[in-house]
């Protein structure tokens, strides 16, 4: 177990290193003077010189990279050319919004996706399965941003149950917070729920026809124990893997969702940075997002090995 995790940790660190190189190189691959890019609107020769100095653009590339990483590791992600404030502060403000959004969508995807997947598998050949499959297929084919627009049309304009935009911290007003977060969470979670549902269904169909399920039934276990305790327990191994692979889409989806619902999260920060050519922010955001993504994948592997003893104990598959 430890050995396996160490291997995974090492791989993750290598990937993270490569990602940081790509991000670092990306900014320097910008056409023209990086100082111009980092300067934003302020383009006087003095300002540019100051930027070259503060970013050390006059040093050689390796030194620059070393400093970039050194700063990033100590939490110094540079200064936004748009606001003149530390990028780390902007990220600190945006993070809770995105985390709440992601957590709510994940919850939705897991509850609805696994639930519908189990029902579809157990009720194979019945209308329930057909319904679940149809909804999943449509869910996969509807682009998130359009679903967002349609939901706003339906539940914020036609029948104003939920709010269509803006963010109120949960601590300030939980009800208002949820009123504003429900639609975004549905938008962000729907695609993931569809994927989880399909995967759960497929894994459950496999499990339900497995020999150990026959054994469980031969023990006289109730239907609930057979489905939940044996078949689902095994299916979760696959479902968690897929869930992990899909978390990247969650990050992508958050960018769009926040844009539609005007939520001041990570995604909005990213898009705003692109349009205001705020490269310091963009660089930091991309780096953080990718690091988070790598970390999530590592966590998924840990969870995976907890669920599946064959991996945890290093036995034959």
């Amino acid at each position: 177990m430890t050995k396996y995790l160490l291997t995974r940790l090492r791989q993750s660190l290598i990937t993270l290193f490569l990602v940081s190189v790509v991000v670092f190189a990306g900014i320097r691959a910008l056409p023209g003077d990086p100082a111009l890019a980092l300067a934003g609107e302020e383009r006087s020769p003095e300002a540019l010189a100051a930027i070259r100095e503060s970013y050390g653009l006059n040093d050689n590339v390796v030194v620059q990279y070393g400093r970039f990483i050194g700063h990033a590791l100590t939490g110094d992600l540079g200064t936004s050319s748009r606001t003149g404030l530390p990028v780390a502060d902007a990220i600190g403000q945006a993070l809770p919004v995105t985390l709440e959004l992601a957590a709510l969508s994940l919850l939705l995807a897991i509850v609805v996706g696994i639930g519908a997947g189990v029902v579809a598998a157990v009720r194979r050949g019945k209308p329930e399965e057909w319904l679940a499959n149809a909804i999943a297929l449509i869910g996969l084919s509807i682009p998130t941003f359009w679903l967002g627009i349609v939901l706003v049309l339906g539940f914020a304009i036609a029948v104003p149950v939920f709010a269509a935009s803006g963010y109120v911290p949960f601590g300030t007003d939980p009800v208002d917070n949820l009123r504003r977060m429900v639609l975004p969470a549905i938008v962000l979670g729907s695609g993931l729920a569809a994927v989880v549902m399909r995967q759960t269904r497929a894994a459950m169909l496999d499990s339900l026809s497995a020999d150990y399920v026959r054994t469980a039934r031969a023990k006289g276990l109730s239907r609930g124990s057979v489905v939940g305790g044996h078949a689902l327990r095994n299916s979760l191994v696959t479902v968690v893997t897929v869930l992990g692979l899909q978390l990247g889409h969650l990050i992508s989806g958050a960018v769009v969702t926040e844009q539609i619902f005007v939520l001041p999260g990570f995604g909005k920060l990213t898009i705003d940075a692109v349009f205001t050519r705020d490269y310091a922010t963009l660089q930091a955001v991309v780096l953080c997002t990718s690091a988070a993504y790598i970390l999530i994948n590592l966590l998924v592997d840990v969870v995976y090995s907890v669920i599946d003893p064959r991996i945890r104990l290093g036995g034959a598959r």
Binding site: D211, Y212, R217, G220, H230, N234, I307
Partner: protein, 383 residues
Amino acid sequence: MTETVLEPVRKTPAEPALSVRDLSVSFHSDTRTVHAVDGVSYDVAPGEVLAVVGESGCGKSVTSMAAMGLLPPTARIGGSIRLGGRELVGAPEKELQKVRGKDIAMIFQEPMTSLNPVLTIGRQIGEVLRRHQGLSRKEAKARAVELLELVGIPAPARRIDEYPHQLSGGMRQRVMIAIAVACDPAVLIADEPTTALDVTVQAGILEVLQSLRERLGTAIVLVTHDLGVVADAADRVLVMYAGRAVEQAPVHDLFAAGRHPYTRGLLGAVLRPGGEGKRRLPEIPGLVPSLDSQPDACTFAPRCSRADDTCTGSRPGLRAVEREAGADASHRAACWHPYAETQADAEAQTDAETQADADGGTGSGTDTGTGPGTSAAAQEAGK
């Protein structure tokens, strides 16, 4: 081991542990109907081992799955299966759940896949105890250790927390047996329990089963296509062919003087002079008839050298082979032209020789090995 097996058969007591009467199972689909089991009857007494023998697809496994109530919903079941006086055919699922694992239990052919890979074996054994005997988690675990000891697993207290993939095939099958006998069931159905295992491991598993029936008085239905296992472990034998019972006899009677031509065919290789006694079922010329065509005839007739118009025109019932014997005669065969006991020896000889030639021609069935390779091949062929 062979010595102990050939002991005189016990007298069947008044109350059998499991009583199957006129069981029929068919599968219906849009296009056709398959009769997997057609009018099979048998009894098993407490402490008795009944072997159900036949080629793959003869309905022996379907019969046992029917007794467990584990057939798929597409199956139609007719007849009666009584477990200690309780009717199982048509019983609601809830009732069956209370019986399964408690009064009737089963072990399967595939020990490698029959245990849940993500649960400890302790949990998998304990589960059945908690379900049927209402034990606490702790009590169940303590009892599970005892059970592992009972089925001959060394260091059970340590093994209890292990996962199936950490155990060998033989060990896993012992765990399966421990699960099956956890609630001291009246009937244990063992469906090809040794087929997937090495020869040396096979003997160990059979020993465990033997000791269980002696110590606990469990009635065992041993489903197999391995005549070596039958000779080693069974008291009585039921031979099945194409969904029907064709012969039923105490084990030594069957081996000494099988009456049905199909039985003779099965035993051909076993009894061949010079043979060492343990054989896979030999190849019998012709194909097993497809189970969706069930004419009013002996299903074995197309492959039978003794068949005539009677055989193709009407179906033989399972009748006592001794004219003077009563309805409960221990040796019965379903054949219009059974072999006579007096001629048995002479005919067995010629028959076996013919058989040997046929086998040599087809190239299969004469394999002498009963090792894992052969088992695997036979298993695959059966699927």
